[in-house]
């Protein structure tokens, strides 16, 4: 019984480690993971002064969203293109384990991007992260959800640029609809409702929460719970769609 749980997890971990070595240093990951979020921030900042808390939470969440979805676009599509994905399929590894492995690789990449944005950015903007432990937890849950989302956007693409384009259909609208650099409360009611269906909203909200207060608030708990649900739903959709695509 224990082996049936640990065996897929260990294999998923091996796949993640392999993906890290093979795909982390591909150029699009850093372009999408760092340059685009910074450019977006600069575009927003032109409009006026932005609260530093919004900058730290928004920019870190964007780095994770763009970085993880970008690495999945590379890791999934390139493997399908070069035939290395077939090696995973013929091995005694389930499709869900393969997807989980790839999601974990994206998850770690998200952690790295968050680490090089949240804390240096907080120090630079003079913002103290009130509860760093909760911030790390929020980053972990958000990174996992975004990474799983990246798998979905890569399933139907045959080329990496196609996958990046499909991901952009989600990433850019989310950037503007999730209250990334603007407080969500200032949005019209309909847009606030729409924002509640987007994972980026919960990532930004959870991070803002642990930057502003050291207490565990009910909003933070709900944000983490919703991000977990997003992860599970995205993983399930990715498995089903990829299975269909392969068959």
């Amino acid at each position: 019984m224990a082996k049936s749980i640990t065996d897929p997890l260990i294999k998923a971990f091996y796949i993640a480690m392999k993906d890290a070595r093979v795909y982390y240093f591909k150029a699009p990951n850093f372009t999408f993971g760092l340059l685009i979020p910074i450019s977006l921030y600069l575009a927003f900042s032109m409009a006026g002064n932005i609260n530093p808390v919004l900058i730290v939470a928004g920019l870190s969440s964007l780095a994770m969203l763009f970085g993880t979805t970008s690495i999945e676009a590379v890791a999934v599509v390139l493997e399908k293109q070069t035939g290395t994905f077939d090696r995973l399929l013929v091995a005694p590894v389930s499709l869900f384990t393969i997807i989980l492995g790839k999601t974990i690789a994206g998850f770690f990449f998200g952690l790295i991007l968050a680490a090089i944005t949240v804390f240096p950015l907080a120090a630079f903007s003079g913002v103290a992260v009130m509860n760093p432990v909760l911030a790390v937890i929020a980053i972990a849950f958000a990174s996992m959800a975004f990474s799983a989302l990246g798998i979905i956007t890569s399933v139907y693409a045959n080329w990496v640029p196609d996958a990046q384009m499909y991901a952009n259909f989600l990433r850019f609208p989310m950037t503007f609809l999730s209250g990334t650099f603007v407080a969500l409360e200032t949005y019209p009611f309909q847009m606030q409702v729409l924002a509640r269906f987007l994972p980026l909203t919960y990532s930004v909200e959870a991070l803002r929460n642990c930057i502003s207060t050291s207490a565990v608030t009910s909003i933070y708990i709900i944000d983490i719970a919703v991000l977990s649900v997003f992860t599970l739903v995205f993983l399930a959709i990715a498995t089903v769609t990829l299975r269909k695509r392969l068959s």
């Binding site: 065996d7 260990i10 294999k11 091996y14 796949i15 392999k18 070595r21 093979v22 070069t82 035939g83 290395t84 077939d86 090696r87 995973l88 013929v90 091995a91 005694p92 590894v93 389930s94």
Partner: protein, 254 residues
């Protein structure tokens, strides 16, 4: 999952990770099959030595030649010691040296008890390597037997292969020789399908003398697997010969 553990698969296109070293490719393959750490390192070393890649174990697979990548792909399919190995076009597009090396490795593997399921367009390769051959035409098995039994099944006539110092307009003339049923030209050679070789050979020497030709080579042939294929599929021998030449040229260029 249990069945997957006992098989190894080598697809037509080598699918190793270019960014990883030969060693890391093998170790990763072994990890997927949960080969224990000590055993996987021992097996990786053993396979890299067997496939002549141990000296290059630290190099990225991306810098390897096509033949080396092919060998590495086969090695990764063997790291978990499968009992059944599927090989799809193992020597397709490879130079002569790499092809010979891979064929010898396949023979050696088979001797160690690994069952090999080989798919190939090179009929001579199937003849050299396989104990049982299925010929597939339009998605259906057209013939299935051992190579020698397949050849024996179509041996209605004998074949003489002859080459002269010139080839112009000879096909038609040769077909008028007594006992000759069919003449097919392959490059600078002619294959004569005859009823009796011992009667035809003297006729060929007379033919050469009468036409002012010199015989460069003359051989008697038993039907090849290619002849069997032509027979069972109804495919034109000329088309087969052209395809074969094209493949040879492609392999030499590769």
């Amino acid at each position: 999952m249990k069945q997957k553990k006992t098989i190894g698969v080598v697809p037509e296109n080598s699918n190793v990770y270019d960014e990883m070293s030969a060693w890391d490719n093998l170790i990763f393959a072994a990890q997927l099959y949960r080969v224990p750490k000590a055993e996987r390192e021992k097996k990786a070393k053993e396979l890299l030595e067997l496939f002549g890649l141990y000296e290059r174990r630290k190099d990225r697979a991306g810098v390897f030649s096509k033949g080396m990548k092919r060998r590495l792909t086969i090695a990764t399919a063997l790291v978990h010691i499968p009992t059944l190995l599927f090989l799809d076009e193992p020597t397709s597009g490879l130079d002569v040296q790499s092809s010979r090396m891979i064929r010898n490795l396949i023979k050696d593997l088979n001797k160690t008890g690994v069952t090999i399921f080989l798919t190939t367009h090179y009929i001579e390769e199937a003849d050299q390597l396989c104990q049982r051959i299925a010929m597939i035409n339009k998605g259906k098995i057209a013939a299935l037997d051992s190579p020698e039994k397949l050849k024996a099944s179509i041996q209605k006539h004998q074949i003489i292969e002859v080459s002269f110092d010139q080839t112009r307009n000879l096909e038609q003339k040769l077909s008028t020789l007594r006992n000759t049923e069919k003449v097919v030209q392959f490059d600078d050679k002619f294959r004569l399908h005859v009823r009796n070789t011992s009667e035809t050979i003297p006729l060929l020497t007379d033919f050469a003398r009468e036409n002012g030709l010199n015989i460069v080579s003359i051989n008697t042939l038993s039907p090849s697997l290619e002849d069997v294929f032509v027979e069972v599929t109804g495919l034109s021998a000329e088309i087969m010969a052209t395809e074969k030449e094209q493949k040879k040229k492609a392999a030499n260029l590769g």
